[in-house]
């Protein structure tokens, strides 16, 4: 892919005088207003990035508190009582949550904490994480477009996200909810005597769903209508394919959670009874509604991460990705199959017939996923692999995601699921896929694109140290939980029988290692922003469109409308733009007629 500059003077260079999109304008206040009202997909993407990182921090703090509580088998985190009695706490009281008026209701901080962790991480962090931040920033650029199809809609969905998050945080700050992020009825319709906390949290998830829908809709139209001239469907980078498949799921599955949560709100406010056994409703119907969305949505979480991995592996081993079409179609395949398998979350609640059907269908998902992994590993074959931070993260992803995928098998098989369901095994599996998959891929992606987004290089040494801690901490934290689950430790337990304590301690220590890793990454990023070296336009020698613009990109992305002339992974045919040909020698087989092209 190249932008061919024929140096025609004048009108062709309409955007040449534009500066970086980050360049502040009209003074401090003006800059703030400009960011707040921007319809530039890059600025929106960056705002999303910081927002989801903040949410990750919040959710992570809750997770650390949960792990700290589990150091001891007895319950150590209780509410302060009205008469002033207070029990030993490890994590300390969270003042806002000690509601003396409600002490009699037995508010339970541990339950609020894991709900907080789950709700924040799922609805506010991981669903919007990759598509809304990196996707928003890079999808139009990788397509060679100036913006997404509906820029104002994009801004709208950002604000919907903000308001949804505010609702959610408000609900937490003003007392918290103890429903778990799944809001299972009838517990969620009976738990909160004041109503509005649960309603607020459910409303938050409902509102956030709209943000998700609008972003997905925007991306689908963008991919269909705004590809650069010359870019056919199979010239698109695989990251685009992944985000495209993600968007399909977002558009088709999210409305169902919309109506589900709406019904839940009606249930609470008007006691309609659709999910309430007391009125003839059915609580398992709620679970069907919920998982019809929430299973596809785990692919909303993981698919973009898979797209990132395809990019990282190809670029950092300078190798054409193996089985391009297989990976592209497996993304669509996963999106399609994702609608068929939601029942495997509720094997213990469903009838025998449907359980069996869902179990059989569940294994279908394993096939496209396995295809992707095989293709990624084959891409490494005969590559020129550099072990920098993004690549290390990509390899880490292969490691943890394989474990996550393989541990899905006993959960998909009926007999074993009856034992493992709702145990720590599920917790571990979920974190291996979501954190070991999505979060790790996202960190890799952020490192990969950091120079492009902010025009600064980061400290490679620091980042690698952080990666080591994250890898170690992650595996220590969650691998132990597989054993905990198989041995009989149920999830969402504030206290447990003594024999599990050793493994819990190991797991908690792992969570501290994880914390150290993330803090190191945070330092590296802050250092990079403040004192990082200026980034060249194409530090890794990538071939996709984003590496043809400046770092950071100008306001309208490209000086000229780009023209797609080669595939995104033709490393053996093309010298990457802005790169010196001697650093990127092409193989001798490249042939005279297909002479290597150097692009300035």
């Amino acid at each position: 892919m190249t932008t061919i500059d024929t140096n025609t003077p004048g009108a062709d260079h309409a955007h040449h005088d534009e500066g970086s999109y980050l360049k502040p304008k009209y003074g401090a206040l003006g800059t703030v207003i400009q960011w707040a009202t921007t319809i530039d997909h890059k600025k929106i993407g960056v705002m999303y990035l910081f927002a989801v990182m903040f949410m990750f921090f919040l959710g992570g703090m809750a997770a650390l508190a949960v792990r700290a509580e589990l150091l001891e088998p007895t319950r150590t985190m209780t509410t302060e009582l009205a008469d002033g009695t207070i029990q030993t706490t490890i994590t300390g009281q969270i003042p806002l949550w000690s509601d003396p008026d409600n002490a009699a209701v037995g508010s339970n901080n541990y339950n609020r904490l894991f709900t907080l962790h789950g709700a924040i991480m799922v609805f506010m962090f991981i669903v919007p994480s990759v598509p809304a931040s990196l996707g928003n920033f890079f999808l139009p650029i990788m397509l060679g477009a100036k913006d997404v199809a509906f820029p104002r809609l994009n801004l709208l969905s950002w604000y919907i996200y903000v308001f949804g998050s505010i609702f959610g945080i408000l609900s937490i700050v003003l007392g918290g909810v103890d429903t778990g992020w799944t809001f299972y009825t009838p517990y969620s319709t009976t738990t909160d005597p004041d109503h509005w906390r649960v309603v607020l949290m459910v409303l938050a998830a409902f509102v956030l769903g709209f943000s998700s829908i609008l972003t997905g809709l925007n991306f689908i139209v963008t991919v269909h209508k705004l590809r650069a001239p010359g870019m056919g469907w199979f010239d698109m980078p695989l990251f685009i394919w992944a985000v495209y498949a993600t968007s399909i799921i977002q558009v088709l599955a999210t409305p169902v959670i919309g109506i589900t949560l709406l019904l839940l709100i009606f249930e609470r406010l008007f006691h309609v009874g659709i999910f309430d056994p007391a009125l003839g409703g059915d609580p398992v119907l709620y679970q069907h509604f919920f998982w019809f969305y929430s299973h596809p949505v785990v692919y909303v979480m993981i698919l973009p991460a898979m797209g990132i991995i395809s990019e990282l592996l190809a670029v950092h081993s300078r190798k054409h990705i193996f089985g391009y079409r297989a990976i592209a179609f497996s993304s669509l395949g996963i999106a399609g199959v994702s609608f068929l398998v939601w029942g495997h979350h509720i094997f213990t609640a469903m009838g025998e017939l449907v359980s069996t059907l869902f179990s059989a269908l569940t294994f279908l998902v394993a096939i496209p996923t396995a295809i992707k992994v095989f293709n990624w590993i084959s891409t490494l074959y005969k590559g020129s692999i550099i072990l920098n931070t993004p690549m290390i993260y990509a390899l880490m992803f292969l490691f943890t995601f394989s474990i996550g995928g393989l541990t899905g098998l006993p959960l998909g098989a009926l007999a074993t699921d009856l034992h493992l369901h709702d145990s720590y095994f599920v917790v571990a599996h979920f974190h291996y896929v979501m954190m070991g998959g999505t979060v790790i891929a996202m960190i890799g992606g952020i490192h990969h694109w950091w120079p492009k987004m902010f025009g600064k290089m980061y400290s490679e040494k620091g980042a690698l140290t952080g990666a080591a801690f994250v890898f170690l901490g992650f595996n220590v934290t969650f691998f132990t939980q597989f054993f905990l689950g198989m041995q009989g430790m149920p999830r969402r337990y504030a206290s447990y029988v003594d024999e599990f304590q050793t493994l819990h301690i190991v797991s908690t220590v792992g969570s501290w290692l994880l914390l150290v890793g993330f803090l190191i990454h945070l330092l590296v990023f802050v250092h990079s922003l403040l004192a990082g070296k200026k980034a060249p336009p194409n530090p890794w020698g990538g071939l996709t469109f984003e590496w043809e613009t400046e770092s950071p990109p100008i306001e309208h992305n490209f000086h000229h409308e780009p023209l797609c002339q080669h595939g995104p992974y033709d490393f053996d045919k093309v010298v990457p733009p802005h790169c010196d040909a001697k650093d990127y020698p092409l193989p001798p087989q490249a042939g005279a007629d297909d002479a290597p092209r150097t692009i300035a």
């Binding site: 009976t190 056919g232 199979f234 006691h271 007391a278 009125l279 059915d282 398992v284 029942g343």
Partner: protein, 291 residues
């Protein structure tokens, strides 16, 4: 997808989507008003048809005593609805003339709807496959017993502001019935009010199952059956003159007393029984669910 452009022989790399070939708006179809009008009339006709089918089905069952399986009713209505929806999509929404991509969106979304309906309904109806007791509801209608905030005296629960009420183990419908009954001096007065109200609102007065003394017949209505799963009964509007011929001047309480005197022996027994009940309305009320 629509990558045919990209690989067609006449592909122009400057214009991958063929936007300039289309040349302005000539690709857009302007549907003739006559076509649209015909579609409108077709839709109206189909609406009439679906109403007719539903009513005819009721009539056939009631008049000829043929029990048509319930799904026939549903299937007929749904087929007509699908035809109507197709017409709207094809012509009003112009899918017929549109890019196939938009139709594809609709089809894929309908496919998801189908999956959703199919599996959810299948699960909730096949639970008792291996052990039948698992399919049954523990309590018909639900009692709310055991749920947080249930109380036994009919007051609102401990959740302040909650619409949840406690019914003392009764289904909400039963609970309201008992409340109503308690507010009347006698059952007869209550039923009289009921039929009167039914007539005023134009609804068809079905005999109520609780109306064991058959005040229904006493008051001159003789249309005691209602639709069930197996069998549809004609609804209001298809038995013209039903009220005109039979409706008695039942508004005053004394009328009921007259009617009461004429009842046959069996009904009398019932009535007597109920009259005793009136003193302590709740004592003898059968507790259907035993809760």
């Amino acid at each position: 997808m629509n990558d045919t452009n990209a690989h067609a022989p006449a592909f122009d790399p400057m214009d991958p989507h063929g936007s300039t070939h289309a040349g302005g708006h000539h690709g857009h179809v302007i549907v003739h008003w006559r076509t649209q009008l015909i579609i409108l009339f077709a839709l109206l006709a189909l609406t009439a048809l679906t109403v007719f089918v539903a009513q005819a089905e009721s009539l056939i069952i009631a008049e000829m005593g043929i029990t048509i399986p319930h799904w026939v009713n549903i299937l007929g209505a749904m087929i007509i609805a699908v035809v109507k929806a197709t017409l709207v999509c094809m012509f009003f929404m112009q899918l017929k003339y549109d890019k196939p991509l938009n139709a594809l969106v609709l089809f894929f979304c309908l496919f998801c709807v189908f999956l959703f309906l199919f599996f959810a309904t299948l699960d909730l109806t096949s639970r008792g496959l291996i052990r039948p007791e698992r399919a049954q509801y523990l309590v018909a209608g639900g009692t709310g017993e055991g749920l947080n905030g249930t109380v036994q005296d009919g007051t609102v629960s401990s959740n302040p502001g909650s619409p949840r009420i406690a019914t003392g183990g009764l289904a909400i419908t039963e609970f309201r019935f008992e409340q109503k009954r308690a507010s009347y001096d006698s059952d007869r007065a209550m039923w009289s009010d009921y039929y009167h109200h039914q007539e005023e609102t134009g609804a068809h007065p079905h005999r109520h199952e609780k109306d064991t003394t058959n005040y229904f017949a006493l008051l001159g209505y003789d249309h005691p059956e209602r639709s069930t799963e197996e069998r549809s009964r004609p609804s209001h509007g298809l038995t013209p003159g039903l009220f005109a011929e039979h409706a008695p001047a039942h508004h005053a309480a004394d009328h009921h007393d007259d009617a009461h005197a004429d009842t046959d022996h069996a009904a009398d027994d019932h009535a007597a029984e109920t009259h005793t009940d009136d003193e302590h309305p709740a004592d003898d009320h059968p507790e259907d669910d035993g809760h």
